[in-house]
């Protein structure tokens, strides 16, 4: 039997947002590698560490979370998790942490390499496991760790005291980085970076808001790819322009009634939790085959930082989804679910992420009740492929689709 020949993909349009966004990620890794080769000090950075600091200083960093997701999505998660486990790390620890710690030992991964750091930048507004993870990186690589402590906020608003507490650390982080890298802080450049970051965030949030249209002009899983740029290049003009291009494309798609989601969009859901990167195709295909599009995700908000001034910047970083209490987190999601017309919620109970999954049972129950939509959960992991059952996922998604169908009067 003759082998099936797949048609070659047409080359990407260099003016398209997809192309621009892909190039930004490539450039990001290339630039940090080139900086390292020039002898500059480069860092590894937590995804919600205030990027305005190192953008202003002109310091290149890369992101272990992005790297771990890329490694997991390309099939290397288990190999690196097992290396970490053989070093004595428990398999109960976050798989991003295990992959990153393993990488710091083996120093190469064909799925996604990045240069070793001269310092690490840690911020615990995304999770507290990160503190120990980065401490271990700093200790084993014998490099400094700069840490900004943003405590979990039990209140609905960010207090002035919290702003002062975080601001002092922000200023101290600048001082430490000046000492480590020899680069100098410029207030003028800082104002410029804040303006660019706001521009990028506004474009990112506008692009993601197009999910509200019926049909949505985008396949919700596209956001999972684009998010990498929102994380690693928020303070660059290229990122702002690429997201603005994306907005234009979505605007045009709405006018034309087209979408990057292939096939009929029968159902609209909110996807809650980090993507199950090792099984992205399985998790996506089960949805796509049933005409289910992801139109709502807190990810959009997670990397859209809008602020007017320095205090506002600090407040934005205190307000990221994993640093806020259940009630505020719930209300934000309810707004997203209502704005986008989500008809069901699919919750990834992510073994790696104790923080997110810990409050998810109760939060998703409250969101489901308020929005009067069904909630389904599945077990998985953001990067360790061993914690997922495809058959169980398939059953739950099918049952969710059947409830949504019945809610529309179908059988």
């Amino acid at each position: 039997m003759a082998e099936e020949v797949k048609p070659a993909r047409p080359p990407a349009d260099p003016n398209s947002a997809k192309y621009k966004l892909e190039q930004i990620v490539r450039k990001h890794y290339r630039e940090v590698q080139e900086a390292k080769e020039r002898g500059e000090k480069i860092g590894w950075c937590a995804s919600n560490f205030p990027q305005e600091i190192f953008q202003t200083l002109g310091i290149k960093v890369c992101y272990p979370e992005n790297q771990a997701a890329a490694i997991a999505a390309r099939g290397g998660g288990q190999r690196l998790c097992e290396i970490a486990e053989s070093e004595g790390y428990s398999n109960d620890i976050c798989a991003y942490a295990r992959i990153s710690l393993a990488y710091s030992k083996v120093k190469e991964a064909p799925e996604q390499d990045m240069p070793l750091p001269d310092f690490v930048l840690c911020c615990n507004n995304i999770c507290n496991c990160m503190i120990k993870w980065y401490e271990n990186l700093a200790k084993t690589l014998n490099i400094p760790m700069i840490f900004i402590d943003i405590p979990f906020n039990p209140d609905y608003t960010v207090s002035d005291a919290q702003v002062e507490y975080v601001k002092a650390q922000f200023l101290d982080a600048i001082r430490q980085l000046e000492e480590i890298t020899g680069k100098k802080w410029s207030e003028e450049r800082f104002r410029e970076v804040m303006a660019i970051s706001n521009r990028t965030s506004r474009a990112w949030l506008e692009a993601t808001s197009y999910c509200r249209y019926k049909p949505s002009p985008l396949n919700g899983f596209d956001l999972l790819n684009h998010m990498a740029v929102a994380v690693c290049a928020r303070g660059t003009v290229e990122a702002a322009e690429a997201f603005e291009t994306l907005v234009e494309e979505y605007k045009k798609a709405v006018a034309e009634g087209s979408s990057t989601f292939r096939g009929e969009q029968k159902h609209r859901i909110m996807f809650e939790g980090i993507a199950c990167w090792p099984h992205l195709r399985t998790t996506f295909t089960a949805l796509k085959n049933r005409g289910i599009n992801m139109v709502a995700t807190i990810y959009a908000d997670a990397f859209g930082f809008i602020y007017d001034d320095f205090d506002g910047l600090i407040r934005a970083y205190c307000n990221v989804p994993n640093a806020i209490n259940l009630e505020l987190a719930r209300d934000r999601r309810i707004k997203i679910a209502k704005d986008t017309g989500a008809e069901g919620i699919l919750v990834h109970v992510n073994r790696s992420c104790k923080l997110w999954s810990g409050f998810m049972n109760e939060m998703s129950r409250q969101i489901g009740e308020t929005c009067e939509i069904p909630v389904t959960s599945f077990d998985g992991d953001q990067a360790d492929p061993r914690n997922f059952s495809a058959a169980q996922y398939e059953t739950r998604v099918q049952a969710l689709a059947e409830i949504m169908e019945a809610n529309k009067g179908g059988i």
Partner: protein, 259 residues
């Protein structure tokens, strides 16, 4: 009109023939689920015992974990929807269905009109499922079907606290080594399954009438422990293991009616 339901589970295969969406003409059940020849045997038996032929079937639905690999049915539906439909046919006032099968446990909430409105399933761990009971029965050299009668003789149920099947197995072995009477160990095992299932049910919110389906429903020891844990009466039907197949046949009937 005759419709057919096929339920291929992880440990058993079941079929049901339904007349006009109401009357159960015949059922069949074989040990062995997905990946075995049991689905074929169950299918052959439901026709041989009823006298009907495949050509007389107006519509068919396949459900269960093996639904994706079975070719030839008109529809493929999740076992959650099918158990809900089958349960409601047997118990018309049913609102909460607790299905404990070979490898998972599900709690399904129905609206007053019988529509599935929400559900919750266990995590992928086998504790609290039929597989857990099988492993424990094996350690005690008992048959799964004997567990109920043995548990009834218990005076002081042992505490089986592990949530992991493997750990629970070593816990049972320790109890045996400590000369704990077997009926007390078996009652403890039933209570352990009931406790995990009750926690799941409470998260969904239990609304009466409640019934159990799946193979574990046949175990009166687990049913009794679950009734005590949830403080509700749990309706039982000897057809409980066939709710999925019956519901699948009813789904097929409803589809024809809707056309």
């Amino acid at each position: 009109m005759v419709t057919l339901g096929i339920d291929i589970g992880s440990t058993t295969s079941k079929c049901a023939l339904l007349k006009d969406g109401a009357e159960i003409i015949a059922t069949s059940l074989y040990s062995g689920g997905i990946g075995t020849d049991s689905p074929g045997k169950a299918l052959a038996e439901v026709f041989s015992s009823s006298g009907y032929t495949i050509n007389e079937v107006a519509c068919s639905t396949v459900t269960g974990y093996g639904r994706g690999s079975f070719k030839g049915a008109d529809y493929q539906v999740s076992e959650l929807s099918c158990h809900a439909l089958g349960g409601r046919l047997i118990f018309p006032k049913l609102r909460t269905l607790i299905d404990v099968g070979g490898q998972d446990a599900k709690v399904i909430l129905l609206s007053e009109s019988g529509k599935m409105i929400n559900f919750l399933m266990n995590d992928k761990c086998a504790a609290g499922t039929g597989r857990f009971l099988e492993v424990m029965a094996n350690v005690l050299q008992l048959k799964v079907g004997d567990l109920e009668a043995v548990a009834a003789k218990s005076e002081k149920p042992a505490k089986i606290s592990s949530t992991c099947t493997v750990f629970a197995e070593s816990e049972v072995i320790s109890q045996l080594a400590g000369s704990v009477p077997i009926p007390d160990i078996v009652a403890g095992i039933c209570e352990s399954v009931a406790a995990r299932t009750a926690a799941l049910a409470k998260r969904v919110g239990v609304v009466e009438q409640v019934c159990m389906s799946g193979g574990v429903a046949l175990n009166g020891g687990v049913r009794k422990a679950l009734e005590e844990a949830l403080e509700v009466e749990i309706a039982f039907s000897p057809l409980s293991q066939l709710f999925g197949a019956i519901g699948a046949a009813l789904f097929a009937y409803n589809k024809i009616q809707a056309q």
